[in-house]
């Protein structure tokens, strides 16, 4: 299998403040990878570098073997940790927008997920509840048949029932053979679906190993290991 995401000596600083220090990673295609770390550890920075929204200070990052560019964005579905939808749009308009720019957008899949939520396509996004806006963002992301899904804190700030919906939506709707890169600090909730775990702290990789292998080697869950490694 080829690497879908590679980091080689990756550095990123904001002025004099280092955010990532010498990250080396090679993520094989397929599977669900958890990028796990406390707040301010560099998770979002790494994701933004993968999406080409930031440029490295040193080293390089490759997505599908090439530097982040429109070509990599065409096969990468990204769910940011922020409200990113235009409030004035209707749900239908937002779907048409995604379908227009992303050739891998599956409208039927999106409509099916929307109907589960009971959201009308004619509804304006600004009239949706906070939770439904986040779910809509997830639907627009997972409705794509992408090679790589990057989800930044998809379950933060939502109730447990919504978390189940989100994780189901991720596992049931991802394209076959695709890779899901889940970035979160809520490890207990996503641990059951993880195939690979990456722990990051202060911009450095602390662990990069298959999830099951780590559990067996350490004799504890990833959540317990995380709490132990990042205890205050």
């Amino acid at each position: 299998m080829s690497a879908i995401l590679q980091c080689e000596g990756l550095y990123k600083s904001y002025g004099n403040a280092p955010a990532l220090s010498g990250i080396d990673l090679s993520i094989e295609e397929g599977g669900v990878i958890g990028l796990l770390g406390p707040n301010g550890s560099g998770k979002s920075t790494l994701i933004k570098l993968a999406m080409g929204m930031l440029q490295p200070t040193g080293g390089r990052i490759l997505v599908g073997g090439i530097k982040p560019c429109p070509q990599t964005k065409a096969f990468t579905a990204y769910l940011p940790d922020a409200h990113f939808l235009s409030e004035w749009m209707t749900v239908d308009r937002a779907m048409k927008f995604s379908a227009d720019f992303f050739t891998d957008f599956d409208g039927a899949k999106a409509e099916s997920m929307l109907s589960r939520l009971g959201i009308s396509p004619q509804q304006k996004i600004k009239t949706l509840s906070k939770g439904n806006k986040e779910k809509l963002g997830l639907i627009l992301t997972m409705a794509r048949n992408a090679r790589l899904y990057i989800l930044d804190e998809p379950i933060a700030g939502v109730d447990p029932a919504a978390r189940d919906f989100i994780l189901d939506a991720v596992m049931l709707n991802r394209a076959p053979g695709s890779t899901v890169f889940l970035c979160t600090h809520l490890i207990a909730d996503i641990e059951p679906i993880l195939t690979h775990a990456i722990f990051i702290c202060n911009g450095r990789i602390m662990l990069d190993a298959p999830a099951e292998e780590t559990r067996q080697r350490e004799g504890k869950t990833l959540d317990e290991l995380f709490r132990e490694m990042f205890r205050w």
Binding site: Y14, K48, M51, G52, M53, L54, Q55, C69, P70, Q71, K73, A74, T76, Y78, P80, A82, H83, F84, L85, S86, W88, F97, D100, F101, F102
Partner: protein, 259 residues
Amino acid sequence: MVTKILKHELYAIFRVLIFFGIAVLAFAVAGRVLIAVMLGSADGTAGLLFVLVVMFYIFAICALIGAAYALGISRFYKTLFTGEGYMTLSLPVTPSQLITGKLLSSLIAVIAATALSFLSMLIFLAGWSASAMQEFYDLFGEIGNAIATIAWNDPWLVVEGVVNLIVTLPMILLLLFFVISVGQLFTSRRKLATFGFAVGLYIAYSIISSLLMPHFAYLSVNVSTHLVSWIQIVIKIAIDVGCFLATRYIIKNKVNLVI
């Protein structure tokens, strides 16, 4: 991809601009009706109403054209440097395509707003008496003849005028795109930084203009007015291209969405 960006940007702009356009047309029609009422009545009330309507009509035209610029600029800022930037910057498009799409949509909005304003004036003026209308037609006819005479004697003046218009129209928008982009480089007080940079740029522009004016005047009198026109055109093209490239560099390399 530029056509897709253009399509969505035009929809987003015109869904708001249409209301300004309707207001302009409504005031033009109201003015037209009031003229007919005024002409057929000795009552001064119609005249007073007419003055008010004309006042609001002029405000509405200014608001329409101002809104066309403002919507283009605000969409540039909102879709690139706020939460919506996550969507925009994850699209499979280059920064050049983004800037081009947004620039073209803003230009189309401004041109459409200007065209609608002229159309509304025709509606408004249709209410005047036949003799007044004849005077307007004669005036436009004289302007047309004057332009034709100038073009016949010195066609380069017309060419320079057209080229000047083409390079000046996008300049304001590109300058504002650039100013907004520079403001985003600051980690705090971005709006203040944007305003400060805009003021600084205006001061620099005024100083450079006042330094260059005497030289242009000398060249115009002693060498050729055409040379001065073309030098000014080249400077404007350089500003357009410089702002475009600088904005593209910032979007490509320096944007950090922290919401």
